[in-house]
Amino acid sequence: MTRQMTGAKMVVQALKDQGVDTVFGYPGGAVLPIYDEIFLQNDVKHVLVRHEQGAIHAAEGYARSTGKPGVALVTSGPGATNAVTGLTDALMDSIPIVVFTGQVPTFMIGSDAFQEADTVGITRPCTKHNWLVKETDKLASTIHEAFHVATSGRPGPVLIDIPKDVQFATGSYTEKKVLKSRYQPQVKGDLSAITELAEAMEKAKRPVFYTGGGVINSGPAASQLLRELVEATGFPITSTLMGLGAYPASGEKWIGMLGMHGLYEANMAMHDCDLMINIGARFDDRITGLISKFSPGSKKAHIDIDASSINKVIHVDIPILGDVAHVLEDLLKVWKSRGRKTNTEALTKWWTQINEWRAVKCLTYTGSETTIKPQYALERLEALTKGMDRYICTEVGQHQMWAAQFLGFDDPNRWMTSGGLGTMGYGFPASIGVQLAHPDALVINVAGEASWLMNMQELGTAMQYRLPVKQFILNNERLGMVRQWQQLLHGERYSSSWSESLPDFVKLAEAFGAKGIQVSDPKDLDDAIMEMLNYDGPVLFDCLVEKHENCFPMIPSGKPHNEMLLGDASTEGAIQSGGAVLV
């Protein structure tokens, strides 16, 4: 016997059946029937954000920190268009989220009705898949399929557009277990390719693991297997921004993040290696630098669940299509069964070389007694929160890169940042999503003042739900990364890259009922951070830092890995006109 119910009730029922406990949303005319059903039950908690973009980023934060899909619910028209940035962000970073949008009734679609937008049309390029459901009978099965698509294969955002008449009408509910989806991405890797990789690992003189967000998306088992593989082989490991935490930063084989603002030793190892093992990363342009000079002497293996990531940018010698955890399990088995061989003599030399690069200490910066250096602020934050049950979000810009450089992540799902899209305004709502998923944990959003202002309205959400998120704002009164590029590339013409008329962040916090702390003297920093940590509630931490600090090391646009800039003195003329057209 199939259950009969309204479309609106189906939405809530399907959420329960999918194990959803939290929905981030904002009501409006076209979703009122669903909000009615939410009102009538207590299993699914609705969190009222202050802007639809905030709902999507919060759902992303929830998803990244739990590994479960995040869910958002917004209305038609502007509700849906406001969701577009978050959807694109989730698509670029492969974050599983399920977004429900209301739509005008089916008989009004196409009439330019009030708050009508072609939501599936607008979101087609920024979702993994989307659906406009025109019949109530198909609603439940579509929702179950949507969860399946969002979380299978390479995860991503999906959207379900539900006209209001479909929400009101009664139909039969399709149970979750009935769903037999045709969409079944391959998870097991080809054994002969895996064996080829194991052989290459046995012979490699200068191997490096280059890991990415795919390890984290693959689940905790993938991180465990990666650690086992690294320890067993003794190979050095670096990671992209998205993959931080899959291998512990405190681990012996960790050589730091790679890429445009990655560590010298990591980028040099990538350039000079003879075997590069890419696990769940996608050769992003922030990683490769100048493609024609990218790691010229290496054999490259690439493990990825998305066939379109393989050979997209960099030609690889050993492509392995499959899920990271599945492939690593097989790789370990094969490598062990072949006798756990590595070229130990060559490896020892390789590590000697890497340690020489490490000795450069590329993160060194000039300290100050009078001004807080942003790097120093993050070093103190790291020291004072080490060992705590800690989750870090960031906005986008210099502070994001410094956070990646100066904070250490020992576990996956602890680091939420907008990597692919680079969305300013991501971090604050994301921190709200993380805190809701982990009520007792310490959740810090490392921010710049400009990014933070982009979604500052969410302070209302943090207050309403008593979410003690700590907003650690490195305030340089500049759009720091833009300013840095203008200095290096545009003849120091600082066009619109400073923040005028900034609010008094302490008063701003107080206006919402939150706590504001301002600090400008390095001597007061530790006490101020402790005050922030000890306060039970949202804190706006306004850390006034050096205004003209540049973020180094840096691979300038259009340069290869081994031509990194390490400090201010070397930046003049570093980027030529060819590189200036790149972003």
């Binding site: 087609r124 406009l132 290869p560 990194m564 390490l566 003195a569």
Partner: protein, 186 residues
Amino acid sequence: MSALRIKKGSTSHSAYNLRPDFSDVEERHTLAILVENEPGVLARVIGLFSGRGYNIESLTVAEVDHAGHLSRITVVTTGTPQVIEQIKAQLGRIVTVHDVHDLTVEGRPVERELGLLKVAGKGDDRVEALRIADIFRANVVDSTLESFVFEITGTSDKIDAFADLMRPLGLVEIARTGVAALARGA
């Protein structure tokens, strides 16, 4: 901190230039894409091409399996081998795409296109148009005292050639279906 003067390529074994790379030569490929016949599926496929900057030389689409709700999209595209591989991989990850066949790789496919050409004229031009149509095995599907509509089937090249010949004889309008293609053999 002072600038580090690092020698370019601190290892001397760069074999990069020796390694066979993808060719830069553009190729023409005919792809057959089997898709679920659901609203928006054509927009997904076309959006992929426009969004990622791929070429479409010709596009044909129709439902081919009514019971199975399957449509077949035939796309003729051009690109370097790396781009062609990307196009296939990107198409393959669209959730409603069932199958992508590169007919050009699977063997020289049978490719056919249908063209309708309206030719207006009088006197000798009319006679000449009919004569050429006969040579090309084009059928007259509409006739007035001043015009013909010819129906011609064949490869795109054949239709191009026919249109070129009809142009001086009074070609006024042309409609083409785009390429439909099947792999040869069983």
